[in-house]
């Protein structure tokens, strides 16, 4: 099956006064239609920037983005417009992602009007259908964002994203600003919509329990680089990169007889401004050696399991022996 989205060596650098920030550095992955890929990592590791660069809210510095087999890296004008109808984004903060001066109805019909496909009664009918689909009561059509709770606002954001029938949606931490009980509702809504319309999600989050629930595969990022990617099940059972191990060991265990052994990483994140070549995690990695300062390649260690660590084989042999 051809991948819906393929990203090859994508780079996004931000020039600043102090130097060039390598927000996304050489990230490659592929994502099949109808699947969900989770992207995890700590704050500031470039997860959101990756999502925004893919849907062309920011221009990429280098690399290639292939969507449905076509190179869309540098599309402009009409083609970009068409691409955006297929790629949408759901934002993290439902408080700032909705225009406070536009009612629910206005927010949801705006993409429909801009697409030029709907007019008059058909427009109203489509708006009603969308509101029903994302579970907003029709009595709220004239409501303003400040009159609604976070969950309902997020539903409006989802409705706006779905208005143009996109194939691919970047979910930029869509539930992290919400109350836990509402989180479940919104996640279930997203999963139901995926089943119904065969949507493909790129789910950016730092909440590992959420990502485990919703994703088919996971990418772990550290300082702009992809360090490990594989199926969700496999990652939670056997992480191979030292950073992934440390990250997953941070999930609190509910089993008092088998508490997780927390791997505490020392030191601080190195600056993303003009970083040295080599593994970015090397400065904090307990297993770092000379070779770690060479550029690292993403290597297929077991089928479908890619890791960017030169010592991955020896380290994991040592672990499996003990």
């Amino acid at each position: 099956m051809a991948a819906l989205l393929e990203v090859k060596n994508l780079k996004k650098y931000f020039p600043t006064n102090k130097g060039v920030v390598h927000a996304v550095d050489d990230v490659s992955f592929r994502l099949d239609a109808g699947k969900t890929m989770g992207v995890v990592g700590e704050s500031g590791c470039g997860k959101s920037t990756l999502g925004r660069t893919i849907i062309h809210l920011q221009n990429s510095t280098d690399g290639q983005i292939l969507f449905a087999g076509e190179d869309v890296t540098h599309v402009k004008g009409k083609e970009l417009k068409k691409l955006r109808e297929n790629m949408q984004i759901i934002f993290q903060d439902p408080y700032s992602s909705l225009n406070p001066r536009m009612s629910v109805h206005d927010t949801i019909v705006e993409p429909l009007i801009l697409s030029g496909k709907f007019k008059g009664p058909a427009l109203e009918k489509e708006a009603d259908r969308l509101m029903d689909m994302v579970g907003i009561e029709s009595r709220l059509r004239g409501a303003y964002p400040h009159e609604m709770d976070g969950g309902r606002r997020q539903r409006v954001g989802i409705g706006r994203a779905l208005a143009l029938n996109p194939k691919f949606i970047v979910c930029d931490e869509p539930v992290s600003a919400l109350d836990v009980s509402i989180q479940a509702q919104v996640l279930n809504l997203l999963m139901d919509l995926q089943d119904e319309f065969n949507l493909t999600y790129m789910f950016v989050t730092h909440d590992l329990s959420v990502v485990r629930h919703i994703s088919d595969s996971i990418c772990v990022m550290y300082l702009g680089q992809l360090v490990e990617t594989c199926d969700t099940k496999e990652l939670f059972e056997c992480q191979l990169h030292p950073y992934s191990k440390a990250l997953l060991s941070a999930i609190p265990s509910t089993d008092i007889h088998h508490p997780t052994k927390r791997i505490v990483i020392k030191g601080e994140i190195i600056s993303p401004i003009d970083p040295k070549p080599g593994c970015r995690f090397a400065a904090r990695c307990p297993h770092a050696c000379e070779r770690c300062h060479q550029p690292q390649q993403l290597e297929e260690v077991t089928p479908g399991h890619y890791v960017a660590c030169c010592r991955v084989r020896e380290l994991n042999e040592a672990f499996s022996r003990t």
Binding site: I55, L57, R84, F91, S97, N99, R101, E110
Partner: protein, 304 residues
């Protein structure tokens, strides 16, 4: 039966209140007007301004005296049945002068602020939204203008353009631009970074539509109040220009010019300065009340 009981109690509750009136679409001009009508202070402001405009237009038809007829026998006359507001130092009827002068003062205020607000908001919005080189060029140019005190700039511009009523409007309008542009830019900068602007890009909004529909409506509230205050300020600045001979030319009775000439007699004949002052105050107050009401009407958070 319990059903009817519930219905009745609901009905009884509603009976005490007036049913809420159906309002037009939020944000439409009709809606703003309906909201102003609900606000007694703003309505008073609208009425005061309208009355002034109507009286000013009709004054030549019902007043006994002309605004420019000099009658030295009644110079500095205090208010009486003959001259309701008294006379000025040349014996001209102050009531006639005030009513006739309203057309100058109010239109200078309106038109000059319309010029400076429109251009200022457009330039400030462009500078704030696009940033970078556009911001640098626009704002540095406006900084040069802002480096001169507004009145001095207006004097310089009217010295170039020449004297007269229309030139005075241009001078004040142009000299007010940097102030509005600066305010608008600062507001735009706080709005621009928010996610709903990004969301608008992602649903294929054009840049112009983003600015007009998403950015400006969220940044304009403080400016509406500023516009209403500036209308009053512009009227005063116009009188300063008239005072040094660059604005409205005598014998045209501009309120500020009347204040300026009457201030020499403030101890002996306070009525000469009091009446024009009173009218300036009423018009300033009215504009401010209207401005406040418009701002509230445009903010969906203050709906009820």
């Amino acid at each position: 039966m319990p059903d009817t009981a519930v219905k009745m109690s609901k009905g009884a509750k509603r009976g005490g209140q007036r049913p809420p009136k159906k309002l037009a679409r939020t944000g439409s001009a009709l809606y703003v007007w309906q909201r102003i009508c609900q606000n007694p202070l703003a309505l008073a402001g609208v009425i005061a301004i309208c009355v002034m405009i109507i009286l000013s237009i009709l004054s030549p038809f019902f007043l006994k005296y002309d605004y420019s007829t000099i009658d030295m026998t009644s110079a500095c006359a205090t208010p009486s049945a003959e001259h309701l507001f008294g006379c000025d130092e040349l014996g001209r009827d102050i009531l006639a002068r005030i009513l006739y002068g309203a057309r100058y003062t109010l239109s200078v205020g309106f038109l000059s602020v319309a010029i400076s607000a429109t251009l200022g908001i457009a330039l400030g919005a462009a500078a704030g939204y696009f940033g970078g080189i556009v911001d640098q060029i626009v704002m540095r140019f406006l900084d040069i203008m802002a480096a001169f005190p507004q009145l001095l700039l207006a004097i310089a511009i009217s010295a170039v353009l020449g004297t007269g009523f229309d030139k005075c409007i241009y001078a004040l309008g142009i000299s007010g631009i940097p102030h509005f542009a600066r305010m608008m830019r600062a507001n735009i900068l706080t709005i621009r970074g928010q996610e709903f602007v990004e969301a608008a890009t992602s649903i294929n909004c054009s840049k112009l539509r983003i600015i007009l529909r998403h950015v400006i409506p969220n940044a304009i509230a403080p400016l509406i109040v500023e516009v209403s205050m500036s209308i009053a300020g512009a009227g005063l600045a116009a009188s300063s220009l008239s005072f040094i001979g660059l604005g409205v030319q005598p014998p045209a009775p501009e309120w500020g010019a009347m204040l300026a000439s009457a201030r020499n007699y403030i101890r002996l004949y306070p009525h000469m300065i009091m009446f024009p002052g009173l009218f300036i105050m009423i018009s300033v107050l009215s504009f401010n009340l209207i401005g406040d009401a418009i701002r509230d009407a445009l903010d969906p958070k203050l709906k009820d």
